[in-house]
Symmetry: C2
Subunit: 150 residues, 2 copies
DNA sequence: GTACTACATTTGTACCTACAAATTTGGTAA
DNA sequence: TTACCAAATTTGTAGGTACAAATGTAGTAC
């Protein structure tokens, strides 16, 4: 389906507009589907993202700055995301003893379990879209996107 | 900048993951920049989107369903978006005389003025990204995105 | 030690989003 | 006309986001 049909446009769009809309809409499609996956786990996409970042720390705690700079949406409110994860006991939060301004956030074993329950579903999600393209086309798409936003 | 650097990933990502993240991040970059443009006009991206849809009606009023189905984010709350636009006197809302369940939304001349003030800025915004690619590359990117999300 | 500045995080506020439930109106069958 | 179901929109609620202001801590100059 062409993007013109998605937005029921009556006029032809130029390439610059189409590309921008296509990126916006692709993100929407991806997010909607991902939300479906997360729903039974009572996690928002950003909460999931924070858990992924914490797992990537491999046991080392992460402070708020570190989490922030690794998120896709750089303006998310990390404090409140961590608050939500704390309530669900998926992470711990402690004041850093070396620098009391900093917080040390760690994923709990319950958090790791949730992530590992999700792993295969997330992989399926990624492949659901990726399999529509050959691996050469995926490479190309990545290159074009990186060039486009650079 | 590779997407791995954006999220400061220490491990290599496979192509399926990279593509998904690249789309998510590209959308973020586009939205952040677009928000900057809209800020002085006191409009949210979705409010702007509604105004664009109404202008596209060329004088014909649009009801809520029509607006909804033309939006990129299909789950937006059209009622409240229109509420906000009404407060700013950028649109009018009247009960449809033929079918009192429906609402007739129309853009006002003030709304049209705001849009025309924005037109060149929006065009610049689209071209800011588009100009990084040749027109063949843009075509290709559009095709790949449409295939990817199909 | 005091003042000053920067760093790290939190809080406040207003808005937006997702989704379900409620409301109002229209159409249809008995 | 009444009952009932569907269509169109609105409302309620619980989150999430953007951004500015506030808080608490550290480091440095005097």
């Amino acid at each position: 389906m062409k993007i013109e049909d998605v937005i029921k446009s009556t006029v032809a769009l130029d390439n610059a507009t189409r590309t921008l809309l296509n990126i916006m809409f692709a993100q929407n499609v991806i997010s909607d589907k991902f939300n479906e996956i997360l729903k039974p786990f009572d996690l928002s996409p950003e909460q999931y993202n924070v858990l992924r970042i914490l797992r990537g720390q491999k046991g080392k705690p992460a402070n708020m700055c570190v989490i922030q700079e690794r998120m896709i949406a750089k303006t998310s409110n990390t404090t409140r995301l961590v608050d939500k994860l704390l309530l669900k006991e998926l992470v711990t939060r402690e004041v850093c003893p070396e620098n009391r301004r900093k917080m040390e956030i760690q994923i709990t074993s319950k958090g790791l379990e949730v992530l590992s329950d999700l792993d295969s579903k997330v992989e399926d999600h990624e492949n659901y879209f990726a399999k529509k393209l050959t691996s050469e086309e995926l490479e190309l798409l990545n290159d074009l996107l990186e060039k486009y936003r650079s």
